[in-house]
Structures are given as structure tokens and as C-alpha cells.
């Protein structure tokens, strides 16, 4: 099938899945609203102070938006990091980039940055800086070894991840706990509704990161042939790497800042899509945006309901799925890779 039609078909199918998951997330929850009450709230016919209106419009809807945005951003970041490192197992949490961004966020919270418009921008800036430092660290450690082999890169990611997780623990230990509010909750990868201003910042930053990656999707295919081969085909490799590095870091940072360091989304979603759609980044990048949104929203809906009225962290669910999936990929499909 030609790639344009393949992309259209994939986007159509994934949009249907996403729509179904959105409906599920709207109608199911521990508040046990009747479908009629939810519809009434959505169409503005319910009393603004009623439980149905508050739960639907102030809790479920914003949370759906956060989950979908974060899932899309993390999945696209996964595709981008995989193409950039030419390592099919790379992804923000495996590479330690999420941990770097999380460290930035905790630091920002210590400085009192919250979720108003300006503070949200500051929060994202700290997360972005943390993501860049972590990704740079991974690159330096891996480059010190013999080339960027798959194992070296993964090992470097694990090391950087452990380092930043420990640094976060240090920060939490020395700072007055009350000032950090829900930080533990957030660190576990727990989605919570965020104010409209923060949601706006989140959307803009994720869109910018997505645009940076999408604009170079064709070049990312060529990069898979090796950097030298890409240059010989006319790709400006330095500019390409910088844009993808920046785009992937921005996507990771925005997701971590507003949704938390949720692991493995960037591994699970791209690989499910690779199996169905192949490895063309021009098809994968847009599909990962929609597929990632549907995946994380579904995971979050599960997290909200499996042990209701209590809640599981969505990060726990993605990690419980992601870790075995990672081992599966490592032992089967990528066994033979150097």
C-alpha cells in the first residue's frame, strides 16, 4: 500500500479507538454517575454545582485531556529517540530522560512554581533543562564506549535514570515535605486534572515538539541507514539531530511536567504500531500521537477503576505492561542486533 494511504487508514482507525476510549473514560468512574447525568453535564443541561457537572467537567474532561496529551507526547518522543539513536529499544524513561525532566520539575516546585500560566511555563522550562541534561549525559557516557551500540546506550540510560532518581530523593529528603505537596503522587505517574492555563502551556509545548519531529520524519528514515549514508543522500545530519533531540526532549519534558514521569509509553505504543504499519517514520510519527493518546487514556481509565474507590497510579500500569514487553523485545526481535 502506498504510504499516504497507509497513514490515512491508520489515523482513521486510531481515531476511532481514541473516540471509543474517550467515551469510556467519560462515562466510567468511581462517582458512579448515570450515563444520562454525564450527557446532561456535557450538554450544559445539568446544574453547574451538581455532582454530575463537577465530576464530568472539572475532573473527568481535564483528566482525559492530560492523559491524551501526555500519551501522544511520550509515544512520539519514543519514535523520535528510537530513530535518533537508531536503537529500537530507546524511549524517554529507558534513556533516563524522563528522570532528568522529573528532577527539573521537583526543583521547580521547591522554588514554588505551580500551575498558573507563567509558573507553568517556568515548570516546563525546568523540566526541559532536566531532560536536556539527562539526554546529553546519556550521549556522553555512551559515546565514551565503543560507538553507540544498543547495549551501551541502554546502560547509559539506566545509569542516568538512577542518578536523577536519587537526586530527586535527596531533594525530597532535605526540603520541608509540605512544600512539595502531591509530589510523591505525581512521581508515581499519577494523572490529575490541571488548570486550563497549564493545559494550554502543555498543548503548545507538545505541539511544538511534535512539529519539530514531524517536519523531519522523512529524514529520520534516511538516518536509519547510518549517519554517513544519510549525509550522502543529502541530509543535513547535524541540523536533523539537533531538531530531533530538541523535539523529543520537549515532548518528554512537557509530558513529565504536567502528567509525571510515566514509563514505557514510548516503547509500547511505537512497537505495537511498527508491527502493524512498518518502520516508515512518516507514518509512525502521526500514528504514535493518536495511538499514544488512546493507550494512556485507556491505561488511566483502568487505573481509576480497577480498585475503585481507591486509585492505582497509571505509571504502575504502564510499567507493569512495559517491563515484560521490553524483555520480550530484547529476547526475540532484537536478539541478533550488535
Amino acid at each position: 500500500m502506498n504510504p499516504a494511504r497507509r497513514l490515512a487508514a491508520a489515523l482513521g482507525a486510531l481515531a476511532l479507538v481514541l473516540a471509543a476510549v474517550v467515551v469510556l473514560a467519560l462515562f466510567v468512574g468511581s462517582a458512579r454517575l448515570s450515563p444520562g447525568a454525564v450527557v446532561a453535564a456535557l450538554t450544559g443541561r445539568a446544574d453547574a454545582d451538581s455532582v454530575a457537572a463537577v465530576v464530568t467537567l472539572s475532573l473527568r474532561l481535564p483528566r482525559i485531556a492530560v492523559a491524551a496529551l501526555a500519551g501522544g507526547a511520550l509515544a512520539v518522543a519514543g519514535v523520535a529517540f528510537q530513530a535518533l539513536t537508531r536503537n529500537p529499544l530507546a524511549e524517554p524513561s529507558v534513556l533516563g530522560v524522563s528522570a532528568g525532566a522529573a528532577f527539573g520539575v521537583v526543583l521547580a516546585q521547591i522554588f514554588g512554581l505551580g500551575l498558573t500560566l507563567l509558573a507553568a511555563l517556568g515548570l516546563a522550562a525546568f523540566a526541559f533543562a532536566g531532560a536536556l541534561v539527562a539526554a546529553g549525559g546519556v550521549y556522553l557516557i555512551a559515546a565514551a564506549g565503543t560507538g553507540l551500540s544498543i547495549q551501551t546506550l541502554l546502560l547509559a540510560g539506566v545509569i542516568v535514570g538512577i542518578f536523577f532518581s536519587s537526586a530527586i530523593t535527596v531533594l525530597i529528603s532535605i526540603v520541608d515535605f509540605n512544600r512539595l505537596g502531591g509530589v510523591i503522587h505525581w512521581l508515581l505517574g499519577n494523572l490529575a486534572p490541571i488548570p486550563p492555563a497549564a493545559l494550554l502551556v502543555f498543548t503548545v509545548l507538545a505541539a511544538a515538539g511534535f512539529w519539530l519531529v514531524l517536519g523531519q520524519a522523512r529524514e529520520l528514515n534516511l538516518l536509519a541507514l547510518g549517519e554517513e549514508a544519510a549525509v550522502q543522500l543529502g541530509v543535513d545530519a547535524e541540523r536533523l539531530k539537533l531538531r530531533i533531540f530538541g523535539g523529543a526532549a520537549l515532548l518528554t519534558a512537557s509530558a513529565v511536567a504536567f502528567a509525571g514521569p510515566i514509563g514505557f509509553v514510548g516503547l509500547i505504543v511505537p512497537h505495537l504500531l511498527r508491527g502493524a504499519l512498518g518502520h516508515d517514520n512518516r507514518v509512525l510519527v502521526p500514528s504514535a500521537l493518536v495511538g499514544g493518546a488512546a493507550f494512556l487514556l485507556l491505561a488511566d481509565t483502568l487505573a481509576r477503576n480497577v480498585i475503585a474507590p481507591a486509585e492505582l497510579s497509571v505509571g504502575v500500569i504502564t510499567s507493569l505492561c512495559g517491563a515484560p514487553f521490553f524483555v520480550y523485545l530484547l529476547r526475540t526481535r532484537y536478539r541478533a542486533l550488535p
Binding site: N2, P3, A4, Q82, A83, R86, N87, P88, A142, A143, A144, G145, T146, G147, L148, I150, A217, R218, E219, N221, L222, A224, L225, G226, E227, E228, A229, V231, Q232, L233, G234, V235, D236, G278, H279, D280, R282, Y334, L337
Partner: protein, 275 residues
């Protein structure tokens, strides 16, 4: 279609051991390419031979501007290579690399279509015309029926032909091959030689063939360039370059040169030393 490439006093060197992974041109030891002057004539097949680290790969990298000369200049039809935008250069010179990374198994058709990138880098998907050209290239190298297969399911010979099709789809005027038969068995070596001759004749493509295999080079090439430690040791017809004394000097081992009964081109054999 044919192109003339001229190297004028081209120099290149690494002062000391290079560091940094993935840096193009990484090398373990200091290396210097002496001022090198050379013309690749339109329509010819020029073979580049020489021992390891003689400068063969560096020559490819200079021609494709993966590295730039420290002195001198390279001209393509009298235009300075240094001033070409990347995509323009990729429309002039295509490289068939030694091996293909396989972290992401693209299909044969996807790989071949990548050769169309330099013709319109701004497009997101390739055009119908790109697809037609890619199909023609796949037909030329006999991989059209493999178009939908992922590269990791191909044999070594099939993969090599897919890569060659990608280079043909690039529609270059100079085709550079880096050890095209290195991992191929005899049958695929023969196929590869036939293919190169056909491309050279039918598409009037100038070919630069870097080869470890002296007999392959002697068989296919109009002229041979023998490099030794970054210098030209000999340049000329295969019969003149493949001289016993000369090869002994450059490779540092005893060789016997006679004529291949099939075709009467020179044939080189190592005189294996006793224990």
C-alpha cells in the same frame, strides 16, 4: 549523463587519533592523504585498490563531502564540489555502502524510494514519478518481486541488489561502490559484475569501484588506481598496475600475476608462505 570528476592537489589528514563515537572519518591512527591529483573520466569504470588504510574509504568520503579536504579542491564537471548544496551533490554522486544497518527493517521498496530524497527533499511522501523511477531501478537489479519484503528477510546478494537499486533510483552521474562483493558468494559476485557493466553501458554512468578483490577489479575496470599509505602508487590499465613487483611493494607479500584464461585480464594470486 556521464560526468568528469577532477581532484586537484587534494590533501586530507587526521593529525592524531580521532575521538568521539560516530564521528564520520573516525580512525584509530594518524593518517594523511598526500596531495592527490586525479581525473575520473566520463563513462569509465575506475577501480580503487590498495591495502587497508591506504585511503580508499577516505577517497569516498571526500567525494561525498562526508569529510572536506584540508587543501586542494574537487571539481565535478568544472564546478567546485565544496559549493554544492547537500541535495545537489547527492544528485551527482551516489554511494553503495559496504553494509546496511538493520535496526529497522524497512521494505525493499521503502529503501529504494529513499534514493529519491535528494530530488525533492521538501516533499513528505514521494511522488508517482518517484515511484516509477524506483520501480525501474528495482527491475534493473532484479528485486522488483521482493519490493514488499523487509530487508532482514533477504539474502546477502538480494540485499546488495536492493542497495544498488537505491543508488540507481538516486539517478547519479557518478556511482561509487564500496566493496560491493565483500559478503557475496560466487554467483552473486558474477551477477554484480554483470549488473555494473550493464549500468555503465546502458545508463552511461561513471563508476568508481573500491575493491579489496584485485581480480574483480581487474575484470570490470577500465583503469585501476593503486593507493598506498595515502599516495598514488600506480594509475593506469589493469595490465600495467597489477605488476608483481609493484604489488609486492605495496602489499608487502609475494604475489603471482598471470592471465585469466577466461577473458585474458590479469589475475593475481598470493604466493602463500610456508610455515
Amino acid at each position: 549523463m556521464s560526468v568528469r570528476v577532477e581532484l586537484r592537489e587534494v590533501e586530507f589528514g587526521y593529525a592524531e587519533a580521532q575521538k568521539g563515537a560516530d564521528a564520520p572519518g573516525r580512525r584509530a591512527r594518524p593518517f594523511h592523504l598526500a596531495p592527490l591529483s586525479l581525473t575520473i573520466e566520463p563513462g569509465e569504470i575506475l577501480g580503487v585498490i590498495g591495502p587497508n588504510s591506504a585511503g580508499k574509504t577516505t577517497l569516498i568520503r571526500l567525494l561525498t563531502r562526508v569529510v572536506r579536504p584540508t587543501a586542494g579542491e574537487i571539481l565535478i564537471d568544472d564546478h567546485a564540489l565544496a559549493s554544492f548544496p547537500g541535495a545537489r551533490l547527492a544528485r551527482e554522486v551516489a554511494v553503495v555502502p559496504q553494509e546496511l544497518p538493520h535496526a529497522f527493517p524497512f521494505t525493499v521498496e521503502q529503501l529504494v524510494l529513499m534514493g529519491r530524497y535528494p530530488h525533492d527533499p521538501a516533499r513528505y511522501f514521494e511522488s508517482e514519478r518517484d515511484l516509477t523511477i524506483a520501480r525501474a531501478a528495482m527491475t534493473a537489479t532484479g528485486v522488483l518481486e521482493l519490493a514488499a519484503l523487509p530487508l532482514d528477510e533477504l539474502s546477502g546478494g538480494e540485499r546488495q541488489r536492493a542497495v544498488l537499486a537505491r543508488a540507481l533510483a538516486q539517478e547519479p552521474r557518478l556511482l561509487v561502490l564500496d566493496e560491493p562483493t565483500a559478503h557475496l558468494d560466487l554467483r552473486y559476485q558474477a551477477e554484480c559484475v554483470g549488473l555494473l557493466r550493464r549500468v555503465n553501458r546502458e545508463r552511461r554512468m561513471t563508476i568508481l569501484l573500491v575493491a579489496h578483490d584485485l581480480n574483480l577489479a581487474a575484470e570490470v575496470c577500465d583503469r585501476l588506481l593503486l593507493l598506498s599509505a595515502g599516495r598514488i602508487a600506480a594509475l593506469g590499465a589493469p595490465e600495467d598496475v597489477l605488476d608483481e613487483a609493484q604489488l609486492r611493494n605495496v602489499y608487502g607479500c609475494e604475489v603471482v600475476v598471470d592471465k585469466n584464461p577466461a577473458g585474458a585480464r590479469p589475475r593475481v594470486q598470493v604466493a602463500w608462505p610456508d610455515a
